[in-house]
C-alpha cells in the first residue's frame, strides 16, 4: 500500500450527532444484549457467587472444626483481617509478592521489547524464531517449575555451568537465594508475554510511518523511540499491568519450585494464603488474606482502566 492509496481511501462517515440519552438508547436497543445472558449467568455462578461467599467467609471463624456447619460458623467481624496483619505474616508476603512482581516485570519488559523488535522485520527463519520465543510461555507453570527445580539442584545444570567458570553455585532453593531463583525462573517463563503484546502493537503500525521516518533520515533508535513506542504505548501499558498482576498472583511457580513451607524470604502472598487455608485449615483467615490480595490487585487495575478510558461508555470522553 502506498501513501497515495492511503490518502485516497474513503473517509468513514462520522456518526450522526445524537444527544447523550439518545446515543445510550441506540447503543442499548440497537444490539441483541440478551446474548450476554448466558455469559452473565456463568460469570455469576463461577465468579460472583464464590467471591461473595469468600468475602462472607473472611468474617467467619471457619476452620476444620466449624467446616461442617459452615454458615453457622462464629461471626468474628474483622478479627481475621486483624490477625492477617498482626500474626499471619501478611505484610511480609505482600512485600515479597510486590518486589517479586515489580522486579520480574521490570526485567521482562526490555527483554520482551527487544525480542519483538528483533523479529518485527522480515528475515529468513523469522517464523521459527517467533515460535521459539513463545516456548517458555506455553509450557505449563508446573512443568517449568519442576524442570528448573532440577536445574537449581546443587549438582544441577546451573551449578555445572557456573562451575565451568570456577564459581561455586551452592544452594539455590533455600534462604534468601530462593527469592532470586524464583525471580530468574519467572523471568524466563514470562518475558514472552511482553513480547507478544509488543509484537501485536508493532504489527499494527503502518509501514508508511516508518517510510516517513526514513525520509526524515531517522536512525533505528529514533524510529523505536519516536515512532514505535508511542504507537504501542497502550498495548505496552496493558501488558505491563497484566504482567505485574500475573506475577503477583502466581501460585504454581513458587509452590512447585520451592515447596511448602516456603523459605521466608520467598513466601509470596498466594502461597501464604494457600498454606493458611489448606495446610492449617484456617479458611476464614485465608479468605481475609485473599480479599486483601484482591483489593491490592484492583487498585492498579482501576487506575489503568480509568486512565486508558477502557471503561468509558460510547460517546464519553
Amino acid at each position: 500500500m502506498t501513501v497515495d492509496e492511503v490518502a485516497g481511501a474513503p473517509t468513514p462517515l462520522p456518526p450522526p450527532a445524537l444527544s447523550g440519552r439518545a446515543a445510550r438508547l441506540t447503543s442499548t436497543h440497537g444490539r441483541p444484549l440478551w446474548l450476554m445472558w448466558p455469559n452473565l449467568i456463568l460469570l455469576t455462578a463461577v465468579i460472583v457467587i464464590p467471591f461473595l461467599i469468600g468475602v462472607y467467609i473472611s468474617f467467619l471463624d471457619l476452620d476444620q472444626y466449624t467446616l461442617r456447619k459452615f454458615f453457622k460458623a462464629p461471626f468474628v467481624g474483622f478479627q481475621n483481617y486483624i490477625e492477617a496483619f498482626t500474626s499471619a505474616g501478611l505484610l511480609h508476603s505482600i512485600w515479597v509478592s510486590l518486589a517479586f512482581s515489580l522486579l520480574t516485570t521490570a526485567v521482562c519488559t526490555p527483554i520482551g521489547l527487544l525480542a519483538a523488535m528483533a523479529v518485527n522485520t522480515a528475515f529468513r527463519g523469522r517464523f521459527l524464531v517467533r515460535s521459539l520465543f513463545l516456548v517458555p510461555y506455553v509450557i505449563p507453570s508446573f512443568v517449568t517449575a519442576t524442570v528448573w527445580r532440577f536445574i537449581f539442584q546443587p549438582s544441577g545444570a546451573a551449578n555445572s555451568l557456573l562451575d565451568m567458570f570456577g564459581i561455586d553455585g551452592g544452594q539455590w532453593l533455600i534462604g534468601d537465594r530462593a527469592f532470586w531463583a524464583l525471580v530468574i525462573v519467572d523471568i524466563w517463563a514470562a518475558w514472552p508475554f511482553i513480547y507478544m503484546m509488543t509484537i501485536a502493537g508493532l504489527q499494527s503500525i503502518p509501514n508508511e510511518m516508518y517510510e516517513a521516518a526514513d525520509l526524515d533520515g531517522t536512525t533505528w533508535f529514533q524510529k523505536i523511540r519516536f515512532v514505535a513506542l508511542p504507537q504501542i504505548r497502550g498495548q505496552l501499558l496493558l501488558g505491563l499491568l497484566l504482567s505485574t498482576l500475573a506475577h503477583f498472583n502466581n501460585f504454581t511457580l513458587p509452590y512447585v519450585l520451592l515447596g511448602s513451607p516456603a523459605p521466608t524470604p520467598a513466601l509470596t502472598l498466594p502461597v501464604n494464603v494457600y498454606q493458611t487455608s489448606f495446610q492449617v485449615f484456617r479458611f476464614g483467615l485465608g479468605a481475609a488474606m485473599a480479599v486483601i490480595s484482591l483489593i491490592l490487585m484492583i487498585i492498579p487495575a482501576v487506575f489503568y482502566l480509568r486512565a486508558s478510558k477502557l471503561t468509558a461508555a460510547v460517546g464519553e470522553d
Binding site: P32, W34, L35, W37, P38, I41, L42, A45, D63, Q64, Y65, L67, R68, F70, Q153, P154, S155, G170, Q171, W172, L173, I174, G175, D176, G259, S260, P261, A262, P263, T264, Q275, F278, Q279, V280, F281, F283
Partner: protein, 453 residues
C-alpha cells in the same frame, strides 16, 4: 421483535441454568438406587498410583469385579493425584453433604478429618461387620480415632518408616548389626563415610516436606518429650527435648558430616537416588514402597531393611516413660462419609478391602504393607526383606490425635526450612533454632487452644 428478543433471552437463561445445574450435579454421591447394578452403587475416593498405572488398572478392575460378585453393587473408584486434591474434595464434600461414600485418609490427616465431623464413628457392631478390631495389627489402630469409642478410620495400608542399608558396605566395614541407638547410628555412619570418594554413611533430605519433622519427632519422643502433650492441650515444641532433637538432627550433617553437604537441598527422591547409586550406605526414613525403585537399581539384592534407632542421641537407653518411636503410625485409613446413604454397602466394601486376599493383592500391586495381621504375617514369613517392618510397626508410636496436628507438623518443618541456609554453611546457631521453635510452638499452642475450645 421486542417480544421475540425477550423470548429468546428467556430461552437462553433457561438453557444456561440447565447446563449449570447439570454441571453442578455431575459427580455427586449416589444413593443405593443409582447405578446400573441391581445392588446399588458405592463411590470410593482413593489415591492415584502414578508410578503403577498398569497395576492400578488391573487391581481396580479385579476389586470392582470382586465387589460386584460379592454384593451385586457397582463400585466407582475416584482417584486424587495429591494430598491437596484430597483435602479440597473432602472440604467441598463435607460442606455440600454429598460426594464419595468412602475416603482414603492418610494417618496424619485422619485427626483433621475427624475434627470436621464429616465421617462416621464406627460402633462395635460396625467393627464386627468388618472382621473386628482383632483383624488388624494393634498399632495400626493407633490413628483410627482419639480413643476406641470414637474411631472413624479403618487401617487399610501401613507404611512404617525404617532404615534401608547397603549390606555389602556394612559387611566391608565389619558392621554386623544395624544401629539401635542414634549414637550407634553416628558411629556406624562415620565408619561408612569416605567423603573423599563421595560415599557417605547416610542420606538426609532436609528439603523434603515430610521427612525432617519425623526425625525431630522421633528423637523428641525417645527423650521422653512430646510435640503435643498426652492430654492434647499443650504444645511441646519449645521444650529442651525438642531443641535437642532438632539440633541432634542437624548435627548428623554439620557436626558428624555423615551425609553429602548437598543433602541440605535434597528431597526424598534425591536421597533414594543417592542410596541406590551406592553413594550412601544408609537410607533412613524410608518405607517398603522403596523396594520397586531399589530393585530396578544396581543395588538389587544388596540391601535390607531395619528399624531406625529407638534411643536418642547421647543416651544409652530411653528414659522411663519415653516412647520407642521407631516410626510414626503411618499408612492409610479408610473412613465412611457421614452423609452416605450406603453405610451397609460401605461396610461390606471395607470388609472386602481389608480381607487377607485383598490386602495381599494391594501389596502385590503397589507395595502397601497389609494392616491385616494374617496377611502381614504371611508376607513377612515368606519375604525376609519385609520381616523387619513387622517389628518396626510394633515399635511405632502414634502422633497426637488432634485436629491441630497440621500446625504442629508444619511448624517443625518450617524450623528446618528456615534453618537450611545455616546448614548449607555447615553450622547453625542454637539460639536461632530455639527462636524458630518458640515461634512454631506459639502457633501450635494457638491451634491446640482452638481445638480444645
Amino acid at each position: 421483535m421486542r417480544r421475540l428478543r425477550t423470548k429468546a433471552g428467556a430461552v437462553a437463561v433457561v438453557a444456561s441454568a440447565a447446563m449449570l445445574l447439570a454441571a453442578c450435579g455431575g459427580g455427586s454421591s449416589s444413593d443405593s438406587s443409582s447405578g446400573s447394578g441391581s445392588g446399588g452403587s458405592l463411590d470410593i475416593y482413593i489415591g492415584a498410583q502414578p508410578n503403577f498405572p498398569e497395576q492400578f488398572a488391573t487391581w481396580s478392575k479385579a476389586l470392582t469385579d470382586t465387589f460386584k460378585a460379592k454384593t451385586g453393587a457397582d463400585l466407582t473408584i475416584e482417584t486424587y493425584a495429591s494430598a491437596s486434591d484430597e483435602t479440597t474434595k473432602i472440604q467441598s464434600s463435607v460442606v455440600a453433604g454429598s460426594g464419595p461414600d468412602i475416603y482414603n485418609l492418610g494417618t496424619t490427616f485422619t485427626p483433621v478429618a475427624y475434627a470436621t465431623q464429616g465421617f462416621l464413628t464406627l460402633s462395635d457392631d460396625d467393627w464386627k461387620k468388618i472382621g473386628g478390631r482383632e483383624r488388624f495389627l494393634p498399632q495400626t489402630l493407633g490413628m483410627s480415632g482419639p480413643d476406641q469409642a470414637n474411631q472413624i478410620g479403618v487401617p487399610a495400608a501401613m507404611r512404617p518408616f525404617g532404615l534401608a542399608y547397603n549390606t555389602d558396605m556394612f559387611t566391608a566395614a565389619g558392621i554386623t548389626t544395624t544401629p539401635t541407638t542414634w549414637d550407634d547410628f553416628v558411629a556406624d555412619a562415620t565408619k561408612l563415610t569416605n567423603s573423599g570418594t563421595g560415599v557417605y554413611g547416610t542420606t538426609l533430605d532436609f528439603s523434603d516436606p515430610f521427612d525432617p519433622w519425623k526425625f525431630v519427632w522421633a528423637m523428641t519422643e525417645q527423650q521422653g518429650g512430646y510435640f503435643v502433650s498426652p492430654d492434647l492441650k499443650t504444645a511441646g515444641l519449645n521444650s529442651d527435648q525438642t531443641l535437642n532433637a532438632t539440633t541432634g538432627y542437624f548435627d548428623l550433617l554439620t557436626k558428624y558430616h555423615l551425609a553429602d553437604p548437598a543433602s541440605v537441598g535434597w528431597k526424598a527422591g534425591d536421597a533414594i537416588a543417592a542410596f541406590s547409586q551406592g553413594k550412601a550406605a544408609m537410607y533412613p526414613m524410608t518405607t517398603a514402597q522403596a523396594i520397586p525403585t531399589l530393585d530396578k537399581s544396581p543395588l538389587k539384592g544388596h540391601y535390607a531393611f531395619a528399624s531406625l534407632p529407638t534411643v536418642a542421641l547421647g543416651m544409652t537407653e530411653r528414659p522411663a516413660g519415653a516412647q520407642p518411636a521407631a516410626s510414626i503410625v503411618s499408612g492409610d485409613n479408610i473412613a465412611i462419609a457421614s452423609y452416605t446413604k450406603n453405610k451397609d454397602l460401605a461396610l461390606q466394601f471395607i470388609d472386602l478391602f481389608t480381607s487377607t486376599d485383598q490386602q495381599l493383592a494391594n501389596f502385590e500391586a503397589f507395595g502397601n504393607l497389609p494392616t491385616n495381621q494374617d496377611a502381614m504375617n504371611q508376607l513377612s514369613a515368606k519375604n525376609a526383606l519385609l520381616a523387619p517392618f513387622l517389628e518396626i510397626e510394633s515399635n511405632s508410636t502414634p502422633t497426637a490425635f488432634t485436629g491441630a496436628w497440621a500446625d504442629v507438623q508444619n511448624g517443625v518443618t518450617n524450623v528446618v526450612t528456615q534453618s537450611q541456609p545455616s546448614l548449607a554453611n555447615g553450622s547453625y546457631d542454637t539460639s536461632a533454632v530455639k527462636a524458630l521453635l518458640d515461634a512454631a510452638n506459639g502457633s501450635a499452642q494457638s491451634a491446640l487452644d482452638r481445638a480444645n475450645k
